[in-house]
Symmetry: C2
Subunit: 416 residues, 2 copies
């Protein structure tokens, strides 16, 4: 089925807020077999909201709105939609009781105007929103046209979508709903888009009618395979075959599929081998430790990290010899190897990652320009060290370095 999404909020148009709801809605609706054919963002102005809802209803007969439901703007979207679908606004006693109770909890008298929060278009299904104050509404007219009103707060929107909207959508569509777009992503890192294209380019033509998209980012290049409007079983089978071919063609650069996070992959790999990990970071400043500890249960494998930002900490905490620093500099193979060694002793672990580099914007020299990073991974008594010169600004260089450090250890463990 086709539908449109209408996002309401002057803040969104002014760019004060990034519209994360849009991507979330897109993914969830595609998975439920609904195709968003157009997404529109309008300001908090009733005339514009009315025009946009009316046009979208004319095109598809099914509109999901987000935003324009807060306590202060409560009436706007609700009133517009009630008018467009020829409904009266009626008081919902259960909603009224909830509003009254909320004011009682806050110990304040309820202003009369708040009664309007309990009004709904006649016959609308109220979608309970335990995470916020304004409920969602599913409003359908006699001609089968539907407007679903959701709040704009991402947490509330997501809850209502998953718990109420998606189940109703799937039910409404019947058995055809399963014949939908399906996609899977092969995640790679440490290889450029063009180098990857040379390895996997030929596969693109052979997997048709499936499509292949290259999605480069700071963390690496994702390869997304999409099957459109095939039977679910056939789509699944073809996607699985294509993913397997891509994975093999990408060689060691492929580290996972879909939302796989490299830190989680590393952690799981180490956990299976009963390894324990410590890290020593300079230019990444804690980013590797932060990424690893973002994973629930990291504490069974990750012991600790040192952010050895000043050279004095490289010598004091990691026992990097002063002579090494003086002879080769803080950004050198000798220093990064000594950091990996030092972290192994400090944390009494078998695996370590060490990173030292120049994230910029200052500090570069002709021999070691901004972006120069030395990385090391150590497992037991084997250290692998590599030098990279990363492009981008400070943030990008740090993120590329953290990803490369994690990947270096992953590859050392799986391809010793």
């Amino acid at each position: 089925m086709k539908l449109e999404v209408l996002t309401i909020g002057t803040e969104l148009l002014l760019g004060h807020t990034v519209d994360t709801n849009a991507a979330e809605l897109g993914r969830a609706l595609a998975a439920a077999g609904a195709e968003i054919v157009r997404r529109t963002t309008v300001p908090d102005r009733p005339d514009v909201i009315r025009a946009a809802v009316a046009e979208a209803l004319d095109r598809t007969g099914f509109v999901i709105t987000t935003g324009g439901l807060g306590p202060t703007r409560d009436d706007m979207t609700k009133t517009v939609v009630a008018e467009l679908l020829d409904k009266r606004l009626v008081l919902d006693e259960r909603l009224l009781a909830a509003v009254v109770e909320r004011f009682q909890r806050m110990g304040r008298p309820m202003p009369a105007i708040n009664r309007t929060q309990a009004q709904v278009p006649e016959g609308a299904v109220v979608l309970p929103n335990p995470r916020g104050t304004a409920p969602g509404l599913w409003v359908e007219d006699g001609r089968g046209r539907v407007v679903v009103l959701l709040p704009g707060v991402p947490r509330e929107m997501r809850g209502l979508l998953v718990e109420h909207v998606l189940p109703r959508l799937v039910e409404r569509q019947g058995p055809d709903a399963r014949r939908v777009v399906q996609s899977r992503t092969v995640r790679t890192t440490g290889v450029s888009e063009s180098a990857l294209a040379e390895r996997v380019g030929d596969i693109e033509a052979e997997i048709a009618p499936l499509t292949l998209a290259y999605l480069p980012s700071v963390e690496g290049v994702d390869l997304r395979v999409t099957a459109w409007a095939l039977e679910p079983a056939e789509a699944e089978q073809r996607i699985a075959a294509a993913v397997e071919r891509l994975r093999i063609a990408a060689d060691g650069h492929a580290y996972g599929t879909d939302n796989a996070d490299l830190a989680a992959v590393v952690l799981e790999t180490l956990r299976r081998g009963r390894h324990r990990l410590g890290v020593a970071e300079s230019c990444t400043g804690g980013m590797i430790a932060e990424r690893i500890t973002a994973i629930p249960g990291a504490s069974d494998t990750f012991i600790g990290g040192v952010v050895a930002y000043a050279d004095v900490i490289k010598t004091a905490a990691l026992k990097v010899p002063l002579e090494t620093l003086e002879a080769h500099g803080a950004v050198s193979e000798e220093t990064v190897r000594a950091m990996a060694d030092g972290a192994q002793r400090l944390f009494s672990v078998d695996c370590t990652i060490a990173v030292t580099g120049i994230a910029g914007p200052g500090g570069g020299t002709p021999e070691k320009p901004v972006g120069t990073v030395w990385l090391a991974a150590r497992v037991h008594t084997t250290t692998r060290a590599v030098k990279r010169v990363f492009p981008g600004d400070r943030d990008e260089i740090r993120r590329r370095a953290a990803q490369a450090g994690l990947d270096l250890l992953r590859r050392l463990v799986v391809e010793p």
Copy 2:
């Protein structure tokens, strides 16, 4: 002036990509005096693109498109726009030379189809794009209607916007362009939206016609003051007065304005006082060090950090007495104070931040539920320690804890 933005990309509707261009365009255009009255996202389908451009031109006469300009989809948007504005596509010799040169650099023969990349609607202004392959285009018809075509890659879009589109927009609008929306934000942390509303609520009515918006996030609550369509000087004066009142009313909770980052504020405060900083983190896992080292030039103030994730590192690296850990547990006032002390000795610094807590999802107990975090800041011989129980998931708890740790040190330094 009013205009519309049209974002082209099936990936955006499927939610595989978050549309960061939208917010960036919104901010930049508002600052240049242009009001985006509607933003529409459509798939990579010529019929839908054509309908959306035509409707937007009917409503405002000025449309900016992003996306649909890559090498593979090059013709789509360009051809549609040329047809709508009654223009022929003509070969641009300079563009052709650039395409030919690109293939020569890659050492590959140029396929004939790539000549189409050098075609532009007749009379279009070519906006050079040194960061990518497809240039931007500014196409105007005899009736003064304009379509600006920009690539979808954020870095390329931003460059073309700042260097070419905004200057032309301001010039086109004349002197009225300076009479536009202006806003400023007071950033607060450590105070809930409702508690903040009790402090600053009365100000809202008094600053009219300026508007006040509460924007809560994990990092704190932003208060945004906006002036609409006032003369620049008057808007500036009124906003400055409102910001000052809000700052005072928010008391110590206000740490900066606009895009101020708390880590940068802390770093600058320490730098002015010639302090030096070390951190000891458990549940935040390196997040505080990462945030501080994200700031260019952090190395003159930040010495280093320890991620003491396993208790053994709390004793080994930070010298937290084993008896303290055994008697009070890792998440306790005694332990966090010992961590702050230990970091001060380890890094030979005068200022430290220490954090230990339960980020979840596991590890909670009835006495110390998930979200329980002990924070300490130490300056010279004074330690201030506080306990918080943060709501949210693991990521949210960690981010709230990192923000609270930074703020604890900020307040200890400015209000000792």
